[in-house]
Amino acid sequence: MAELVLQNVSKRFGGLLAVNKLDLEVPAGRILSLIGPNGAGKTTVFNMITGVYPPSSGTIRYKGHQLNHLRSNRIIAQGIARTFQNIRLFKSMTVLENVQVGLHCRTKSGAVRALLKTPFENREETEIIAKSLKLLEFMGLIEHRNDYASNLPYGEQRRLEIARALATQPDILLLDEPAAGMNPRETADLMDLILKLRDTGLTIFLVEHDMKLVMGISEIVTVLDYGQKIAEGTPREIQQNEKVIEAYLGTAAKAPN
């Protein structure tokens, strides 16, 4: 069963057609990758799914609900989480607090409860801390819980972003170039992590340039070029697809006879 479905989705920025009539299905429990040359519209797809801006036309459905004009925070609450291409952590907050923010949409205590420190608020805070610590433990960040996010090394900042996204308790996780700037060791760790997450039942939707990562773990690969889907299939099929090779490497010049 497909969880996230994009039907005929287009996005136009002024004269630029960033995404052109894209049809896409993200089946539950799978790892799906979206690849394509720079400027192909991959991040635009993520931004439309998470409500950063609405699509110009077409529909985006998640578990049957239309997402088109929902505010981002509502979409996140529906069970879609994402990370960012360039890390966007809350820098002056501690690692633990970053994760706690992720739990915002799963908790209820408001300002009045906080002011009065009601038993409900106390209980919920305890629960938030416990859940966050568990998540940090899972992500191997527990030692850093009291460090400021800005003081983490690069690779751990990436992990923290994933931890924060996981804290929203998603069913589907959108990762926007998670391996960017990572060394091979870190990328290998990331691969293990993604597989581990998939095994917990999470659906992974990946935008990535690192082909080793993409081809290593994806079950389905979709290729975008100039906003259009040019190929879809297993990693093996994609690697042999003429159109894909052309998009990445250009047409082979005809040798003069």
Partner: protein
């Protein structure tokens, strides 16, 4: 490095001298440079002291200006003193202050406390949520006028008017908040500045309601009721809090409650959402935080605290007029927040006293005070941009199952 610092020092000293030119006192009869020279001397002294500190500390200071080791050390030393002692000591000092001070000093103390509570309220909007608000004093005016009008027209008591003022303040907070939800930075500052002025102008010109520039007077003081058994019967006797010490204790209680409230908010789910919005609004929204709602909430709660302070102010003076709510006041409150350290409660308390009490001490300098004020702010921004007592986030021990045991001893200093 030393040369660089010396150059900086020379530049600051030069600009200070220029800033102080108007203070030389070009009067028809006399030329009095000594006063300006004294002030200049003090500031240059501070600069030189800072230079020496930096020189001793070596080159690292220039690179890592935001992680000053000596502040860290002081912080650590302070955190080693049991919190109960520090807080108890401060509370004791605050409590016995009126017994040792004369009326003028108590009055200054009250003013300081009013500004501290304003600073704490604005801290929610600017410090936690990161929304630059230059018209904050408008909510203070709303509180003051709500109490004045309710008391004068309907005879509503201070305590009954307080919640009404809070509600009205919150409504006004939302009114200014709503149209500015999509604005950030400079644009937001301009709109809030405009709002502050609009409120003042309305108060100034709506003669039939607010008596215009003449202001309102004759409001009753806050009352306490105590039981009386005189004449064999039982009755409640009203006691008007007229004396300065009584008013002092009232505002002290308000400030303590404000501190507790802001602190609780800061460490709550809502507080974290605010800070997330301040740090990166898009990322906050995409982490599931409803940014619109939380920003409105920040405006509303900030306004509520200002409104309480305003009602107290009107009740204390038993008089209010629109000129108490000039743009300048908004600036001072903002300066308190910035000087103290954005988001830092102890910083704001200290800054409130520094910025309100110190000008009182320099009262002889009259209007030039503002100039010195500006100079202090400029120097602060250069030397210590994170404020007197930088905000720090709470640290957590691993045992999350019990929320309380480490609260008092885990070394967090706010």
């Amino acid at each position: 490095m030393v040369r660089q610092e010396l150059q900086k020092l020379a530049v600051y000293a030069f600009f200070l001298a220029i800033l102080l030119i108007p203070m030389l006192g070009f009067r028809s009869a006399s030329f009095e440079p000594d006063r300006a020279l004294k002030i200049w001397g003090v500031f240059v002294g501070i600069l030189i002291l800072n230079f020496i500190v930096k020189a001793v500390r070596g080159g690292r200071a220039a690179v890592e200006a935001h992680k000053e080791p000596w502040t860290e050390r002081t912080r650590e030393r302070i955190s080693r003193i049991p919190r109960l002692y520090t807080i108890g000591g401060l509370a004791l000092l605050a409590a016995v202050y009126p017994l040792m001070a004369n009326n003028y000093m108590i009055d200054v103390g009250i003013t300081c406390l009013i500004y501290v509570s304003l600073g704490l309220g604005l801290n929610i909007v600017v410090g936690l949520c990161g929304l630059l608000d230059l018209g904050y004093i408008a909510f203070y005016a709303v509180g003051a006028y709500t109490y004045s009008l309710l008391n004068l027209t309907f005879g509503v008591s201070f305590w009954a008017a307080l919640p009404m003022g809070v509600v009205l303040g919150m409504v006004c907070g939302c009114i200014i908040g709503y149209p500015t939800l999509k604005m950030r930075g400079d644009y937001l500052a301009i709109v809030t500045l405009g709002f502050g002025e609009i409120v003042r102008l309305v108060l100034n010109n709506w003669d039939s309601l607010t008596a215009g520039p003449n202001g309102l007077f004759g409001m009753k003081r806050p009352t306490l009721y105590y039981p009386s058994f005189a004449d064999g019967g039982f009755s409640w006797v009203a006691y008007y809090l007229k004396s300065l010490p009584a008013l002092y204790y009232l505002i002290l209680i308000i400030v303590v409650l404000t501190i507790v409230g802001v602190r609780r908010l800061d460490n709550s789910r809502i507080g974290r959402a605010w800070i997330a919005i301040r740090e990166d609004e898009t990322a906050a929204e995409l982490s599931g935080v409803p940014t619109t709602w939380n920003k409105l909430l920040a405006y509303a709660l900030g306004a509520a605290f200002a409104s309480v302070a305003g009602a107290f102010f009107a009740a204390k003076l038993s008089y209010t007029n629109p000129n108490f709510f000039l743009f300048m006041e908004s600036c001072i409150v903002l300066c308190i927040v910035v000087l103290g350290g954005v988001g830092s409660i102890p910083g704001i308390v200290v800054a409130g006293f520094v910025l309100i009490a110190v000008p009182e001490i320099f009262r002889g300098l009259e209007n030039y005070r503002m100039l010195a004020f500006g100079a202090i702010m400029t120097i602060m921004m250069v030397v210590k941009p994170e404020g007197l007592i930088p905000a720090s986030r709470r640290k957590r021990e691993l045992h999350a199952t019990d929320p309380h045991p480490h609260e008092e001893s885990d070394g967090r200093d706010r």
